[in-house]
């Protein structure tokens, strides 16, 4: 028996901007159904790594594969179609849309009907229904018809995840999902993250160590574009190198 194919894997993934190496030969594997945290000090290359995975950045070297399919050269939108979906650290929504519209649009993309021009939504009402169900599932049903930019920040963060879920991901990359959410609004968000379906492999970047240890079943520590170490939360918590990096990083400010 061979080992099961990881949901997402990289080998030798490298990228540099001039002298600055943001990814240095990263070998990484995300098993199916994972709950994996990517941590590291500021400037470690976490967001660049996600950008490489989604295709927003083109690597200088190395390969990326999604469930065994090589996607290194693939444009972003096709990676999404194959199930590789991300959210953004800085909320990136459709300000004048309602949540229902945002999700329906995403579902239309997923179902391959978004290019339809001459037929309206009359025959696609099941897609809007699905969008609504999804919104209800993450607790946004009562905001379905509100204008996105008028929503409280916490709800926008939820919608950020909702839009990603509507693409029906197999691998979901969450870039600091709870960043900046005030405490009284964060409950629903954490619930939604906890309730993510088991068949989705989730990798998230997070600075809040409480959240990391609450959700992650495995952790990768990235420093200066390189994988410093990998392990279970317990292993990482014990790791002397990690402590040093974090303390050092704090002192460097």
């Amino acid at each position: 028996m061979t080992a099961p194919t990881p949901a997402l894997a990289t080998s030798g993934l490298s990228k540099s901007f001039g002298a600055l190496g943001v990814a240095r030969s990263i070998d990484f594997a995300l098993p199916a159904g994972a709950r994996h945290a990517l941590i590291g000090p500021n400037g470690a290359g976490k967001t660049s790594f996600i950008n490489l995975l989604t295709g927003a950045l083109a690597p200088d070297a190395g390969r990326i594969s999604l469930s065994g399919t090589d996607i290194t050269e693939m444009p972003t939108h096709r990676r999404v179609k194959l199930g590789l979906v991300r959210t953004f650290q800085i909320t990136s929504l459709f300000p004048d849309f309602t949540p229902l519209e945002s999700l329906t649009m995403t579902i239309c993309e997923r179902e391959g009907v978004a290019g339809r021009m001459l037929r309206g939504f009359r025959r696609l009402s099941h897609l809007a229904d699905e969008a609504h169900a999804l919104l209800a599932g993450i607790g946004l049903a009562d905001s379905a018809h509100a204008i996105t930019r008028t929503l409280p920040y916490g709800r926008q963060r939820l919608l950020e995840i909702g839009v990603a879920l509507a693409a029906r991901p197999r691998v979901l990359l969450l870039d600091e999902p709870a960043a900046g959410v005030p405490e009284k609004e964060s409950g629903a968000l954490l619930e939604a993250i906890a309730a993510l379906p088991d068949d989705i492999a989730v990798m998230f970047i997070e600075h809040d160590m409480d959240l990391v240890f609450r959700f992650a079943r495995s952790i990768t520590v990235l420093v200066a574009g390189q994988v410093l170490c990998e392990g279970t939360p317990a292993q990482i918590a014990e790791d002397a190198r990690v402590r040093e990096v974090y303390l050092g990083a704090h002192f460097d400010g």
Binding site: T54, H77, L93, E109, M117, F121, D129
Partner: protein
């Protein structure tokens, strides 16, 4: 807790509203109440159609163009040259105008989808100016700055000649404009239209929801160019003359002003803008030929100060206030 049925937003949005029907009926009745101004009425319709073509691109797709007259003029010259060379049947001439402009739009779209913001603005402006200079240089074909003469158009359907009062021209422009509005209405209320607006709202996110936007932007640029060509062709046929100004920077700038004035991304913004701008200009330049620019400028300034979303946007906001906050979500759309 939830009063609106799941998914209701979409069907409701695309349902024909009474106001729209009334609007088109009111326009159709123009010969009854402004029988002496049918030429102005058809030129307003033509400008509205031109603004609609830009609305698809700018109002819905969020892509600025300061060279849209390139397509308008291409349509005008296509229709005009066909008629000048003996092809005087109007409908086929108009279709040709649309197709040639669309082909130009398709070719230009490969350049345009790579750009955004100010660069897009200036490159579209540059392409428009290049085409203008080309038409001036090819004076043997286009008539240059003297304009294209000898544009003779056969009666519509072989029955209705283009009369001096402009009755045939008006009906013709009305029907074409109505058809174009119906088409664009369809498009913007389709999944394609939704993704186009998604691009306007957040271009960077579209790829991350799996949308192949480059191809769609090319398509919408092509359609928009075709509609602009349709408007240009209509003008050439109803005026029976094509001047270089059909391709001019002033026309490109004016249509942007008209659209923003009316309110972009609202389907009827171009029509409202064209009505206000062109009637305003007609009345003001009649009343005060030397200084009408001042009053027109004042109107623009006041609209910006009091209705920053354009006239339609201002109207919608007013409605919201009248109806109270409950309707906020719907009316602001």
């Amino acid at each position: 807790m939830e009063s609106i049925a799941p998914g209701a937003g979409f069907e409701r949005r695309s349902r024909l509203r009474a106001g729209e029907v009334l609007l088109w009926l009111a326009i159709a009745a123009a010969p009854l109440y402004v029988p002496g101004h049918l030429v102005l009425a058809s030129q307003i319709l033509i400008t509205a159609l031109f603004a609609l073509s830009l609305d698809l691109l700018l109002g819905y797709g969020g892509m600025i163009s300061l060279g849209h007259a390139a397509y308008f003029g291409t349509g005008a010259y296509t229709a005009g040259l066909l008629a000048q060379h003996g092809w005087s049947e109007p409908i086929s001439g108009l279709v040709a105008a649309m197709l040639v402009a669309a082909a130009l739009g398709f070719a230009a779209s490969f350049v345009i989808v790579r750009l955004s913001g100010v660069a897009l603005l200036m490159v579209t402006l540059g392409l428009g100016l290049l085409l203008f200079e080309l038409a001036n240089a090819l004076a043997d074909i286009t008539g240059g700055s003297d304009g294209l003469q000898g544009v003779e158009i056969a009666p519509l359907l072989g029955l209705f000649g283009f009369d001096m009062v402009g009755r045939t021209g008006f009906v013709y422009a009305y029907l074409v404009a109505l058809g174009a509005f119906a088409l664009v209405r369809r498009i913007v209320h389709s999944p394609f239209g939704l993704s186009l607006q998604g691009y306007r709202e957040n271009p960077a996110r579209m790829a991350q929801i799996g949308a192949p936007m480059a191809a769609r932007l090319r398509l919408v640029n092509t359609i928009s160019a075709g509609l602009a060509g349709l408007a240009g062709g209509l003008l050439a046929q109803t005026t029976q003359f094509v001047g270089l100004d059909a391709l001019g920077f002033e026309r490109s700038a004016e249509v942007v002003i008209i659209l923003i004035l009316g309110g972009g991304g609202r389907l009827y913004g171009g029509l409202v803008g064209a009505l206000v701008f062109m009637i305003g200009r007609d009345v003001l330049s009649e009343a005060n030929p030397e200084y009408w620019y001042f009053w027109l400028g004042l109107i623009l300034v006041l609209v910006v100060l009091f209705m920053p979303q354009g006239i339609l946007g201002g109207g919608a906001a007013l409605l919201v206030r009248l109806r109270g906050r409950a309707a906020l979500g719907e009316a602001a759309r």
